[in-house]
C-alpha cells in the first residue's frame, strides 16, 4: 500500500503511465480535501450506483400497477408512498435515476465536444470563420433554452430521445463561447508558434495543443450545467414533451402528482427531492472541479 502511494506521489515519474497517474491522483486528492466537492462526488456516485443496480435496489417493479394500494402515504412498506396507480414511488425514483443519468450523459457527450470544437476552430482561425461560427452561436444563445428545446421537441415529436437531442442542441453555445475565449488567450503564444514551426497541421494543433487547454474549463462548466440539464429534462417531462408514461421520469412524475399535491403531497414531492439532491450534487462537484482544474490555478499546484 505504501509502495503504491509512493508510486502515485513520485516527484519524477519513470513512465508516461505513471506521470498520468500521479496527476490524476493529485487532482483526486485535492477534490477529496474539499468537503462540498466530496459531498458532490458522493451524491453523483450514489446516482450512478442507483442507476446501475436499480433492479436490485427497488423493492417493487416501477410500472406494475396495484390499484388496491393507490395513494398510500410513506410507510415501512412503501418508503415514499404510492402514486395514483398504486406504484411504489421509491422504486420509480430509483428507476428514474437511469433516465436522468442517460439524459445527462448523452447531452454532455453531444453538446460538450460540439461546443469545444466550434469554439476552438473559431478562436484559432479568426477572420470570417470566426464571424460565421460565432454568429451561429449567438443565434442559439439569444433564445431561451427551455423555449428552444420546446420548439425542437414540438417539431421532432415528444419522447426521451428527442428531448435529449433538443437539450443538446440548446446546450452547446456557452461551451463554444468559453472555448473560443480560452483559445484567443493563447493562439499567439510561443508554445503554439513552436508546434506551428515544427510543421504541424492546423487540425493537429487544435486537437493536440489547443483543446487540452480548453477541456478543464469546459468540464467545470458542463458539470455546473448538469443541474440545468436535469431541470430542463424534468421541465419537458412535466409538460408532457419528454419521457412518455409509463417511464418513471422525475419531471413527468411531478406532473402526475400535481393533481394530488394538496392531499397526497408525497406523490410530487419525492421525485422533486430527487431532482434537487442530484442537481445540488452536480453543482458541488462542479464547484470543486473548478477549484482544482482551473487553468489559472492548476498550473501552479
Amino acid at each position: 500500500m505504501a509502495g503504491a502511494i509512493d508510486w502515485l506521489t513520485a516527484d519524477s515519474p519513470a513512465s508516461r503511465l505513471q506521470a498520468r497517474a500521479v496527476r490524476i491522483w493529485a487532482i483526486g486528492g485535492a477534490l477529496m480535501r474539499n468537503p462540498l466537492a466530496a459531498l458532490g462526488i458522493a451524491i453523483v456516485l450514489v446516482l450512478i450506483v442507483t442507476a446501475a443496480f436499480a433492479p436490485w435496489i427497488a423493492p417493487y417493479p416501477p410500472i406494475g400497477q396495484d390499484l388496491g394500494n393507490r395513494l398510500l402515504p410513506p410507510s415501512a412498506m412503501h418508503w415514499m408512498g404510492t402514486d395514483e396507480l398504486g406504484r411504489d414511488i421509491f422504486s420509480r425514483v430509483v428507476y428514474g435515476a437511469r433516465i436522468t443519468l442517460l439524459i445527462v450523459i448523452l447531452v454532455a457527450v453531444i453538446a460538450a465536444p460540439v461546443g469545444l470544437i466550434v469554439g476552438a476552430v473559431s478562436g484559432y482561425f479568426g477572420g470570417w470563420i470566426d464571424r460565421v461560427l460565432m454568429g451561429l452561436t449567438d443565434m442559439f444563445l439569444s433564445m431561451p433554452k427551455l423555449i428552444l428545446a420546446l420548439a425542437f421537441v414540438a417539431a421532432l415529436g415528444p419522447g426521451i430521445e428527442n428531448a435529449i437531442i433538443a437539450i443538446a442542441i440548446t446546450a452547446w453555445p456557452p461551451y463554444a463561447r468559453i472555448a473560443r475565449a480560452e483559445t484567443l488567450t493563447f493562439r499567439n503564444s510561443e508554445f503554439i508558434d513552436a508546434v506551428r514551426l515544427q510543421g504541424a497541421s492546423s487540425g493537429r494543433i487544435i486537437v493536440r495543443h489547443v483543446l487540452p487547454l480548453c477541456v478543464s474549463s469546459t468540464i467545470v462548466r458542463v458539470t455546473l450545467d448538469m443541474a440545468g440539464i436535469i431541470l430542463i429534462a424534468a421541465g419537458l417531462g412535466f409538460l408532457g414533451l419528454g419521457a412518455q408514461p409509463p417511464l418513471p421520469e422525475w419531471g413527468a412524475m411531478i406532473s402526475r402528482g400535481r393533481s394530488f399535491i394538496l392531499d397526497q403531497w408525497w406523490v410530487a414531492t419525492m421525485p422533486g427531492f430527487a431532482i434537487i439532491v442530484v442537481s445540488l450534487g452536480f453543482c458541488f462537484l462542479g464547484d470543486g472541479l473548478r477549484d482544482v482544474l482551473d487553468p489559472k490555478q492548476g498550473g501552479k499546484s
Binding site: 508554445f191 514551426l197 487547454l213
Partner: protein, 252 residues
C-alpha cells in the same frame, strides 16, 4: 555555402512595414548576431525567416531553399527556433516527454523514447525530468527543454530569439555554454537576436546592428571587442552597454 540569405527583405504586420530592405548573408556554420535596441525590428526578421510573420516581400533562402510565407513541414527539418521566454514557449499541460516527442510524431519519426532520452542527455538534463511538467522546472531547465525541442528534428540552422534574456545571470552562462557546445558538436548555424553585446562577443563571429528597421552596420566580432565601429549609432550602442571586453558568460 550560404545558410541564410536575405535579399531586400521588407516586413510588416498588416500595416506599415517595420523592417525595410534588409540584405544579409550568413555562411554555413557561422554564428551571427542581430543587435539593436527594442523595436529595431531584429526579432521581426527572425519571425519572418521562421514563417511566423507572413507579411513580407523580398527573398529568403535557407540552405539554398527558397522560403514560403507560411511554416511548412520540409522547412521544419532544416531550421528551428528557440524562443525568448522559456515560461511561455512550453505547453503548460504537456510533460517534457510529450513536448519533445511531438515533432517526431508530426514527421513520422519512430523510436520516440530513445531519441527523447538521448536529446535530454545532449542538453544536460537528467532523465528524471522527462515526465515533469514545465511548472516543475526552473527557467534554465525550461530553456534547455526548449533547445532540445528545437533540435529534435536535427535542423542545421537555429534561430535564437534572445535565448538568455529571461534568465538569471548565472543560468545565462550555462545556457550560452550549452549553445556553444551544441554548435560545435552538431555543426549548426546560429542566427541570434540579442541586445546584450557581451553575449555577442562570447557566442558570435559576426554581427549586424539594426536601427529603425534597417541594418546600419555589419561587422566582425573583433571590431566589437575593440569597439571600433564605423557607424555612429553602433558606437553609441557600444558605449551604452559599457563595452564588450570582458565576456561575462565565460564563467561556469
Amino acid at each position: 555555402m550560404t545558410a541564410i540569405g536575405l535579399r531586400d527583405l521588407t516586413i510588416g504586420y498588416g500595416g506599415d512595414p517595420v523592417v525595410h530592405g534588409v540584405t544579409l548573408d550568413i555562411a554555413e556554420g557561422e554564428s551571427f548576431a542581430l543587435v539593436g535596441e527594442s523595436g529595431s525590428g531584429k526579432s521581426t526578421v527572425l519571425k519572418a525567416i521562421a514563417g511566423l510573420a507572413p507579411d513580407w516581400s523580398g527573398a529568403i533562402t535557407v540552405l539554398g531553399q527558397a522560403r514560403g510565407h507560411r511554416p511548412d513541414r520540409n522547412f521544419a527539418r532544416v531550421c528551428q527556433m528557440v524562443f525568448q521566454d522559456p515560461y511561455g514557449s512550453l505547453h503548460p499541460r504537456k510533460t517534457v516527454d510529450d513536448t519533445l516527442a511531438e515533432p517526431l510524431a508530426i514527421h513520422g519519426i519512430g523510436e520516440h523514447a530513445d531519441r527523447v532520452v538521448d536529446m535530454l542527455a545532449a542538453v544536460g538534463l537528467d532523465r528524471r525530468f522527462r515526465f515533469r511538467f514545465p511548472h516543475q522546472l526552473s527557467g534554465g531547465q525550461r530553456q534547455r527543454v526548449a533547445i532540445a525541442r528545437a533540435l529534435m528534428l536535427e535542423p542545421k540552422v537555429l534561430l535564437l530569439d534572445e535565448p538568455t534574456s529571461a534568465l538569471d545571470v548565472s543560468v545565462q552562462a550555462e545556457i550560452l555554454n550549452l549553445l556553444k557546445r551544441l554548435r560545435r558538436e552538431r555543426n549548426l548555424t546560429y542566427l541570434m537576436v540579442t541586445h546584450n553585446l557581451h553575449v555577442v562577443a562570447f557566442m558570435c563571429e559576426r554581427l549586424a546592428v539594426m536601427r529603425h528597421g534597417r541594418i546600419v552596420e555589419t561587422a566582425d566580432v573583433d571590431r566589437l571587442r575593440q569597439g571600433t565601429f564605423d557607424n555612429a549609432y553602433s558606437r553609441e550602442l557600444y558605449a551604452a552597454s559599457g563595452g564588450a571586453g570582458a565576456p561575462i558568460a565565460a564563467a561556469g
